[in-house]
Symmetry: D2
């Protein structure tokens, strides 16, 4: 999964657009969740499997830079590049949002998540399987 970013195709919904006629800035974070979920699924490691294994993946940090607006009914590509920290406790997902039509860059972002054990109440190392998937070339 290292190297090539995962691509998620999405169409901007009416409910996501604001009185300026453009996608409301907060919904980019929803798109990041959708893209991340599909990136993990396509890598053979669905988020639900991590959860069923007793761990959760809370978000610890996020940031976005907005370049251009996404408009109603427009198709966009959300690129996800996950990166495991050296300790394997944290995944950083790096994002680029592109207009599907011409690959114009609309936004860049990053979301950090940590593997968390709710029973012990603290961050833990990633499961072996996750480490294998995120270390192998995609």
């Amino acid at each position: 999964m290292t190297g090539t970013p995962h691509r998620f195709l999405y169409r901007v919904r009416f409910r996501e657009c604001d009185p300026m006629g453009i996608a409301y800035h907060v919904h980019y974070l929803d798109w990041f969740e959708y893209a991340r979920t599909e990136a993990l699924r396509d890598a053979g490691m669905p988020y639900k499997a991590i959860e069923d294994g007793g761990l959760t993946l809370p978000v610890t940090h996020l940031e976005i830079d907005y370049k251009e607006s996404a408009r109603y009914d427009e198709e966009i590509i959300v690129e996800t590049t996950p990166e495991l920290s050296a300790s394997t406790v944290r995944i950083s997902c790096h994002y680029r949002v592109l207009k599907a039509e011409n690959e114009q860059l609309l936004a860049t972002g990053r979301v950090d998540l940590c593997f968390f054990d709710p029973k012990r109440g603290r961050p833990v190392r990633a499961p072996e399987k996750v480490v294998k998937v995120l270390s192998s070339p995609s």
Copy 2:
């Protein structure tokens, strides 16, 4: 709590408005949840207490009639009149959404919820306390 409806004052948020410059129709249901939560709290029976007692309150039916638009930054009143069914298994909340400025009617609606026991996997009678609160005049 029978008789006089509970009033919840709310200001329409930017994120709730769509490209037509008005509140997106789905958010009325969010307002119903906010108003219902405060109506139950003010009646001395917070939703959280019902949940802590081991029951949930899933929505089984809802309906809305939209009359006029609610606009960005406008203050509205959400009126809730809860009504317990004869069997006490179901609460029907009757709603009116009014423009705060002149009490113009914007929408009417209804949301039905049932008392549900997740352990037994089926609807149950309302707890004694709820019956008492919802049967006494407000």
Copy 3:
């Protein structure tokens, strides 16, 4: 478009699930919007074209009956059957939400929209093209 319902395949998102671990009831209305948009697009009449023609399509009424819960990461089918009123001023969309795996019925619903001319401030008849599409067998 009369007769056979349009089918929209969707996967329940994490952000749509509540502390009961199931899809929060309000999001069904979001899914109805997504399904309606794709039903109109597939019928050769994208919502954006109606809007570009100077009309809007506000929701005037909606209702849902919930039968069973939709769960996180589950695939669902949202069936839309649009029906034009005799006056052509209103479209009623009839919905069924099914579990994709076994077509178990999760919910039924209806959303009414009217063709509205913002310049004249009142409901109007549907454009000729819409009448043609919605009257022909699908």
Copy 4:
């Protein structure tokens, strides 16, 4: 408005909580919008007045660090400290989210917005009134 941060009291809603039973991370950004709107209103400069003056205020950058979870029905305080850039083209809002009960720090964040003239299609200096409000001690 320089100096003392503005405080916005809020109660976490059921619809904002996820299957982990805590507020879904994206909703913190919604709270930032609510708090910012009230901070500007209390400073005598409602967002709507800026918009009515022909300008918009798109978000250009945001970031959040999450420390502890906010739980269902819990009261939180969202502190906003707005800061005008030297060129007056940009406002940076600095945020702290606190548990109301004991002022425990739940999250910190920042949202940058720029004054934008949609007719000229480019960022512009802040209106005189905004400069005055944001430069005076609160």
